[in-house]
Symmetry: C2
Subunit: 348 residues, 2 copies
């Protein structure tokens, strides 16, 4: 058996290696760097082939493929969302992704994306808040203290400059877990007994819950003037977190309208309700926050370009970090027409 | 660093292990067994979520995702098609695929599919010919002797019972390669100097060329009454192999009309030109071959359920064959909410 040529090998970043990479770079630093890649890609929005993700819904959850391409590289993520998983000892969201060359179709990276999705989601939220949150925001309420919570807190501390997080979850153990994990970050961490208590004095409200249903995590009276809402959890048809009245008082910012109108908080609104695309804010073609009284809402659902940016970032890191193995994933016969002969010769 | 639990590990079948599996089972036997899985899945067609594949086209080729689900398992294939690749020393088509559990979204198999696609394409062609080719067909013309050629020949020998293949390719080296690989199969292999010579006396004509353009591999005068045409290569918008007049004389059978009308030979016909779905033939709801004079045409483009069947087959083999390794592809914190803590603890 001859060793396959380099052409047939795809670098693979396992969960173990992703954790090594995160810890080598440092989670906060890695979030900052991923945010830079995401911002750079939003700024060249028109170069991307964009399509709403392809979702396979079932009673238990959803499995999605999220492809995009900038004409040079092609990327996609496989991701599931199963709200009942946690109670059964599984992750609500797991993911992996692939980056490939457009010119020959060969994959150049296979990576775990459960951890990477948490990092890119937090990076995106904080990046967007840099444009939309009130100047000098110091306090963030975090409603929902699950797997995504600490990544968000760290991202907002590093990218936006908050110094205080006010945690609430209907599961007190989730809050205790988050508080413990955040104890050494330098953040002032306050565990609250109600969502109302959590939002008190916060300039930024992050909602990040996992129920697959229309929920009302925030009611209208909880949202004061001037607040920035970072709504993460409403990301599926039939799954929202905010009362409709909040949406009507807010200026709404979205990643990719054709996807957000189906999956985001704005599925509660008319199809022509005005929204602003983030890439237009980041390129200066649209206004972000106008004044101190305005309520801004990032209706986050997660878009394929963000995963593409994160995969691109990870691939670039592999030049400096030995956090991958090479997988024999592609057939590479000496004569590319001789696939059959390659298999036959392997028998001897 | 603690070892991840079984939940976090995904069996991976590399190219090397796929070749081992093929050679353990035997390529002809494996094609027969995959054909059985494909037939079983066509017979329960209505259980599947079906969607045309999601294609990203570029000047050089196409990258596609092909997802489907039967409600219990979810599968998808990543596949590229780059006609210019061969001249550059790359495979025209490379592929890999994933099978996952619908109930929790966790992948249960990652497999190379370059070899597996060749096997499943040949298995599908032969399975379809079992229903459509003239009774007692003994001779197949094979126009296009690239990577798919020998798999097709073997499949038709084993599943349909042909004893003779008549090879033609514009590249004589491709024909020589195929003839050499088929020398020990027991097939009578005849290398021909023209497509006209290749089709002489053949009851079955297989076209399997790779040009990404409207081509006329078969002209109308080359196709006599009673022939079955197995048209493999017309599988992309703008890529066909048969003259339109042949289509008008044929009864046309397809996998999934919404995909075939865009990608197959029938992109040359009106959108309402009658076609018969294969699942209806296999379940007895539609007629296959009616008489000895009829020209039958399988307008093959390759559909997601066939990949699903092949992945399902490979997964089932792993119980008996040690041809896989386990990849640490999914994050599996002890507490599923504590993804951040898992990463942090990995640092120490």
């Amino acid at each position: 058996m001859t060793t396959p040529s380099k052409l047939a090998l795809v670098p693979f970043v396992s969960v173990d290696n992703m954790m090594k990479l995160v810890n080598k770079i440092g989670p906060a630093q890695m979030i900052v760097e991923i945010a830079d890649y995401i911002e750079a890609d939003f700024k060249r929005w028109k170069q991307f082939d964009k399509t709403p993700r392809i979702a396979a819904h079932s009673e238990e959850g959803v499995i999605e493929l999220m492809p995009t391409s900038d004409g040079e590289s092609y990327g996609f993520k496989y991701v599931n969302g199963h709200p009942a998983n946690m109670a059964r000892g599984f992750q609500t969201v797991t993911a992996f992704g692939v980056l490939a060359r457009v010119d020959n179709g060969y994959p150049v990276l296979l990576s775990e994306m459960t951890i990477l999705t948490a990092l890119r989601t937090a990076a995106t939220s904080a990046l967007v808040a840099k444009y939309l949150a009130p100047k000098g925001s110091k306090t963030m309420a975090m409603i929902g203290n699950g797997a995504q919570c600490e990544f968000q807190a760290l991202a907002f501390q590093t990218v936006v400059g908050i110094d205080t997080v006010r945690l609430f979850d209907i599961d007190r153990e989730a809050t205790a877990k988050a508080a413990k994990n955040l104890a050494t970050t330098g953040l002032n961490v306050i565990s609250c007994n109600s969502p109302e208590e959590a939002v008190a004095g916060a300039q930024i409200i992050t909602t990040c819950t996992a129920d697959k249903q229309y929920a009302t995590i925030l009611t209208d009276n909880m949202v004061g003037a001037g607040v920035h809402i970072n709504a993460i959890g409403g990301d599926c048809p039939g799954k929202t977190e905010l009362h409709r009245d909040i949406l009507l008082r807010s200026d709404i910012f979205v990643e990719y309208p054709p996807q957000t109108r189906v999956e985001g908080e704005i599925q509660q609104l008319d199809d022509d309700h005005p929204v602003t695309e983030l890439w237009r804010v980041m390129t200066g073609q649209a206004e972000g926050r106008r004044d101190a009284q305005q309520i801004t809402l990032f209706d986050s659902v997660g878009f394929a370009t963000e995963d593409f940016s994160a995969l691109r970032y990870v691939r670039d890191q592999l030049a400096n970090h030995d956090t991958f193995v090479e997988l024999d994933m592609l057939a590479d016969p000496d004569d590319p027409r001789d696939l059959f002969g390659m298999v036959a010769r392997a028998a001897s």
